[in-house]
């Protein structure tokens, strides 16, 4: 049904990335690319370097070697602020929300970069502050509607079940209206129903907003179902890259990750 979704040109490309922490080699000579509007998965066993790779992509880590090409611009590393300003948003493996704040307020924080009004304007609620608040709230409400969070709008995040918290995190990332979304294990620890919901939301996000999605995931079933292309890492090295079918039939991948299946 989403077959006529247009996958565009390469927008992000990493070449020969190596990342070391002291003597520990987290990533060795990794190269791959991400095309516009696609869902790109990074998989691998525990400790394979998946989260490190994501952290390199949005500038949390600086690799010792290699280059990152984003929208044609070659650089040694990304800067977290630059990444955000360039339309990259992410979620975290261990939920990182403001637990004392409501769902609505948490998602509003995702609009931070869109706020232009000054501190004074906001404090006294005049000038641009008022108009911006209304615009931002509308955008946030659209996301609440999109991710079906209406019933918990005013609930503090600490009181929510795990699966919903994950959804709130996705909502906050979407509030920044990203062109690229990095999802770190969006379905970890979820039950079957929650996973299905999350898959639906990831696919809908990709379909509706054309957001490019790079996701790390443990659950093979999920990855094979929703991804366009998959990168496989093992011990910090790339051992496979291609469509889910290609990866599934790659002997190295079968040996390293899929086991006897």
């Amino acid at each position: 049904m989403s077959d006529d979704r247009k996958i565009g040109d390469v927008i992000l490309k990493v070449d020969n990335i190596s990342l070391r922490f002291g003597g520990v080699k987290a990533l060795t000579d990794i190269s791959f690319d991400v095309r516009e509007h696609e869902i790109r998965a990074i998989i691998g066993p525990n400790g394979a370097g998946k989260s490190s790779m994501l952290n390199v992509l949005n500038g949390v880590y600086t690799p010792q070697e290699g280059t990152i090409t984003f929208h044609g611009e070659v650089r040694k590393d990304m800067d977290t602020h630059q990444a955000a300003e360039n339309g990259i948003a992410r979620t975290f493996q261990n939920i990182a929300l403001f637990t004392g704040m409501t769902v609505l307020d948490n998602i509003m924080t995702g609009r931070n970069l869109k706020i232009k009004s000054s501190f004074i304007e906001q404090a006294f609620w005049f000038g641009r502050a008022r108009r911006e608040e209304i615009e931002n709230r509308k955008k946030v409400e659209e996301i609440i509607d999109f991710l079906q969070l209406q019933s918990v709008r005013k609930t503090p995040v600490a009181r929510l079940p795990y699966g919903i918290k994950k959804r709130v995190e996705l909502a906050r990332a979407l509030a920044a209206e990203p062109t690229m979304l990095l999802l770190d294990e969006p379905m970890a620890g979820m039950n079957v129903e929650e996973k299905q919901d999350m898959c639906r939301f990831v696919l809908d996000t990709n379909d509706q907003f054309g957001t490019t999605i790079v996701l790390i995931e443990h659950d093979m079933g999920v990855v094979m179902d929703i991804s366009d292309r998959v990168v496989v890492l093992d011990y910090g090295k790339k051992i496979g890259d291609g469509t889910p079918d290609e990866v599934r039939n790659n002997p190295d991948v079968i040996k390293a990750y899929l086991g006897a299946h």
């Binding site: 709230r137 209406q150 079957v192 509706q208």
Partner: protein
């Protein structure tokens, strides 16, 4: 008041709508919460949208006498779709939105549906699936385009596109709409509601404009409903109760219908809207009370003391104060205090502060439950009716409320009892016919025009009707004593720990019961006693839980012992089922009525165990999960005996 009544004179729904639009164009007709804000459609907006929708349908070839399927949650656009179909002389066929495609197929085929207006992608998917076997489904119109951008099935169209088409058609055919509305007759069928099908296939109940307008007018006069009233519509649109309250009475009285943001937000929306007129089946009132009770149990000691002592005052005199009966000055003062400290804030939290009239129907309501709401000043009443009678047969008049009766015959309704106790009804609200089922029509409407409801009832000394059971369910034990399963099941269900009960006993020596515990109530009970459990199955099998349920069963037995002939129906043995009865497994209807015959067949092994004297019985059960997969649950189920009491004659009341 006279202004309101003046509006309610037209004899078809489309004409009622245009009257409201002409007389009070800016008054709010429909509201829906969208993007966190309540959006309002005035009567003028509503009439304009209905016109565009109707013209769009006409452009697609919808003609007089055609059926329009309407599927989805309560949405303003879908209520407008009813009026749009009726404007063209068509018939609205609302369907249960949570039914799976296979269940929908029967109705879609039976009603020969060519046109459908549905809410969203979920319903579109189901209709497209159904279309594989039913190619007659030509046009599927959806209100919410989310997720449907890349669908290109033929005949699929957004409501937006339909309106545009309608505006074009309207411009090209001036006067067409008004002429079509003028051609409508009060005796035309306006809506077809499918019965829930407790037995056999669902039947389409054809109701005319006149039937529903009569029923609505009766209710509006009886309870003095006015144009400034507000209701929250959250019950299935395919259910007769919602159609009467949120459509027929809405168009007759001209009040405002509010649609919740989503099914999960109903309680919040209720608080925000503060409806003045409210309708809910007993289970809704029950779950609200269970929640209140649980939260009070967890509250601090002082709050609990305050709540308990003031609720005792309310219980003693609250209902009498509301009914205007004499009450001592001391109680009046205490009640006023309670109103400030407890009842008022509680009603506010529940969104019930502004309720003038609240109705419940569809199943029996427990006396404690009923008294609770009345004691805190909510004018909760019962009514009796069915799909075939526009949910309008008996109503409880203000000030004459009894928990075990359904009131007196409503204005314009004749009620009498057949020799076997079956309730028979005559009046304008009786169905015209069952769709394509002359046999069923002939069977249920007799030569004198009385509709046989299938319910067994008795009139009490005040002329109030009391419903005992389904007439056909009333059976006899092998000893010949009368056995009314529903009556006993309801007594069991009045305990907050019991969610469902199914009783057996026809042609048997004694009565036995299957019990479903209420996971919330029993779970909380278990937690407070440090009983560890992993889920429903585990909890249901605990000896402590059996002991708890046994107490309830024996309390029912003690009560039955005082009720003359029914004293023979005391429950001899019972078991707690290892799974909750579920409409997805066909064990209940979509309106959550137990299909006793089906359950007996499915759990035949358990029934044998009950009557075979066993203390443990093994069973394998197939279950369907929400995503459509199926699996099975195996369990060893304990069977307990319950104490029975010698029959006693009731002390003079």
């Amino acid at each position: 008041m006279s202004v309101t009544r003046a509006a309610a004179t037209a004899d078809t729904f489309p004409r009622l709508l245009s009257q409201h639009a002409a007389q009070r164009p800016d008054a709010p007709a429909l509201r829906e919460k969208y993007l966190g804000i309540w959006q309002t459609w005035s009567w003028r907006d509503t009439a304009a949208e209905v016109r565009a929708m109707a013209m769009g349908l006409a452009a697609l070839g919808f003609k007089r006498g055609d059926n329009l399927a309407i599927i989805g949650d309560n949405r303003p656009q879908l209520y407008m779709a009813f009026a749009a179909a009726q404007s063209l002389g068509g018939i609205a066929v609302p369907m249960y939105q949570d039914a799976v495609a296979a269940e929908m197929t029967f109705v879609l085929e039976n009603a020969a549906i060519r046109f459908a207006i549905v809410e969203d992608q979920e319903q579109v998917d189901k209709l497209l699936e159904a279309r594989d076997t039913l190619p007659q489904i030509e046009h599927i119109i959806f209100a919410d385009p989310r997720g449907l951008r890349n669908y290109n099935a033929p005949g699929l169209m957004s409501l937006e596109a339909l309106r545009t088409k309608g505006d074009e058609f309207d411009a090209a055919h001036p006067g067409f709409f008004d002429a079509e509305v003028a051609r409508g007759q009060a005796t035309d069928v306006s809506v077809m509601l499918y019965t829930s099908g407790t037995t056999g296939k669902p039947k389409g109940v054809c109701q005319t404009h006149q039937a529903f307008i009569t029923a609505a007018q009766g209710g509006v006069q009886f309870d003095h409903l006015v144009a400034t009233d507000n209701v929250l519509s959250y019950l299935p649109m395919a259910w007769v109760g919602d159609h009467l309250f949120s459509y027929a009475q809405f168009l007759v009285a001209g009040f405002t219908v509010n649609c919740p943001e989503s099914a999960e937000t109903v309680m919040t929306d209720l608080r925000e809207i503060g409806p003045t007129y409210y309708f809910a089946p007993p289970r809704v009132f029950e779950s609200v009370l269970t929640n209140v009770t649980i939260r009070m149990e967890d509250a601090s000691r002082i709050k609990r003391w305050l709540y308990d002592s003031l609720m005792a005052v309310a219980k003693r005199c609250g209902a009498d104060i509301m009914d205007g009966k004499p009450v001592s000055t001391k109680d009046k003062l205490l009640y006023a205090l309670g109103n400030v400290l407890v009842y008022g804030p509680l009603k506010n939290t529940l969104g019930m502060s502004r309720i003038r009239v609240a109705y419940t129907a569809g199943a029996a309501i427990g006396p404690d439950l009923f008294r609770f709401y009345r004691s805190i000043g909510i004018n909760l009443k019962q009514l009796y009716g069915s799909t075939e009678t526009c949910a309008y047969v008996c109503l409880q008049p203000d000030g004459q409320i009894k928990f075990d009766s359904v009131g007196t015959a409503a204005p314009g309704v004749e009620v009498k009892l057949a020799d076997n106790g079956e309730v028979m009804v005559r009046g304008a609200m009786v169905l015209k016919e069952y769709y394509k089922r002359p046999d069923a029509t002939a069977e249920s409407i007799d030569a004198n025009g009385y509709f046989h409801t299938g319910d067994a009832g008795v009139f009490d000394s005040d002329g109030h009707l009391r419903i005992i059971d389904r007439a056909k369910d009333v059976g006899h034990l092998s000893t010949g004593a009368m056995f009314a399963p529903n009556y006993i099941e309801n007594k069991l269900k009045f305990f907050s720990h019991i969610k469902e009960a199914v009783c057996f006993g026809h042609d048997k020596d004694n009565v036995t019961a299957f019990i479903n515990i209420d996971l919330t109530a029993v779970g909380n009970w278990a937690e407070r006693r440090n009983i560890v459990y992993s889920g429903y199955i585990d909890l249901a099998g605990k000896d402590e839980v059996y002991a708890l349920i046994k107490e309830c069963v024996e309390a029912v037995n003690a009560e039955l012992a005082t009720e003359g002939e029914l004293s023979h129906s005391q429950i001899a043995r019972f078991l707690i089922l290892h799974k909750e009865l579920d409409p997805d497994d066909d064990e209940m209807t979509r309106t959550r009525k137990v299909r006793r015959g089906f359950v007996a067949e499915k759990y035949a092994a358990l029934l044998d165990g009950l009557y075979g004297g066993k203390t443990v019985q093994h069973i394998d059960t197939k279950v369907k999960f929400e995503d459509g997969r199926s699996g099975s649950i195996a369990a060893d189920i304990k069977i307990n005996d319950a104490k029975r009491f010698p029959a006693v004659t009731k002390a003079a009341a």
